[in-house]
Symmetry: C2
């Protein structure tokens, strides 16, 4: 007998991730933002002045896709592209004052979203679930997504193992 779909952790995280992202997108629409914008704003707030390449690595996307993402936020006046102090090819991406406000509002929307997602769990189970998910993310070597200290130079952001969808 095959494992039922609903007993598969991979399927469950996929389905829950899609659901959470859709709900979050609906909430963020009032702020004219998308979940990826919130992710990027959070990254920049946690490490100001990083290059677009570094930010793209942290989000697991290509640097080409990062261009339009930074464009979006810059046109809204939420971030700034400055000259990189050490590399004239690169931009140093910084948070603008309006970006801090927008991030604060988006964080409140994320709080609501997480509260809704965890509605059926008590405090102890919430802690257990988050700890287990963090262990999975760590084991999968997913980008830390928010470097907390000054010691995050070169070892992060492993190259994803070519998750191509099609062979044709």
């Amino acid at each position: 007998m095959a494992t039922p779909l609903t007993d598969r952790p991979g399927f469950l995280v996929f389905q829950l991730g899609r659901h959470a992202a859709a709900r979050f997108a609906a909430r963020l629409a009032a702020l004219d933002l998308q979940p990826r914008h919130f992710w990027l704003l959070s990254l920049i707030a946690g490490a100001e002045g990083e290059t677009q390449q570094q930010l793209a690595d942290a989000m697991g996307i290509h640097r080409n896709a990062m261009v339009s993402l930074v464009d979006d936020l810059e046109h809204r006046g939420l971030v700034e592209r400055r000259r990189h102090p050490a590399d004239r090819r690169a931009h140093a991406v910084h948070l603008a004052a309006a970006g801090r406000d927008a991030l604060a509002r988006a964080n409140r929307a994320a709080d609501e979203n997480d509260a809704e997602l965890l509605a059926g769990l008590d405090a102890a189970d919430r802690r257990r679930l988050i700890a287990l998910l963090q262990r999975l993310a760590h084991e999968a070597q997913l980008a830390p997504a928010m470097p907390t200290g000054p010691d995050h130079a070169a070892e992060g952001a492993p190259t994803p193992p070519e998750p191509r969808g099609r062979t044709t």
Copy 2:
């Protein structure tokens, strides 16, 4: 202080879901299948003869998108569209013999994928995590995705609360 991204359950399930889906897609590519095909095959195997509309509801997609999905599997000889016994507008979607074989192989790929995802957890923690995720999915009223009994007529598949991404 705002909650770090990596402490947010919504972000964690999103990131892990994306990762698991990408890894699974890479494994399934050898079978010329995508994760959504596996999902659909599993649904049909669990409830033969359902209409495309019912299958679309279970997967949380529009019936328009279901057409090409069933087309894909039918062209590969994995499923069959038969006349619905009670409604001549509808198709009854059934699994072909080759579909059972393909599903068995895809289930083995899913087993590998889940094992990789859970690599860092012992058996007890795996059970705890799956149980917690199932409670979240149940609370979010996500489609059961695999009706186990004959008593799943009309009450399932709640309409998703318009998760539109854009206002413009």
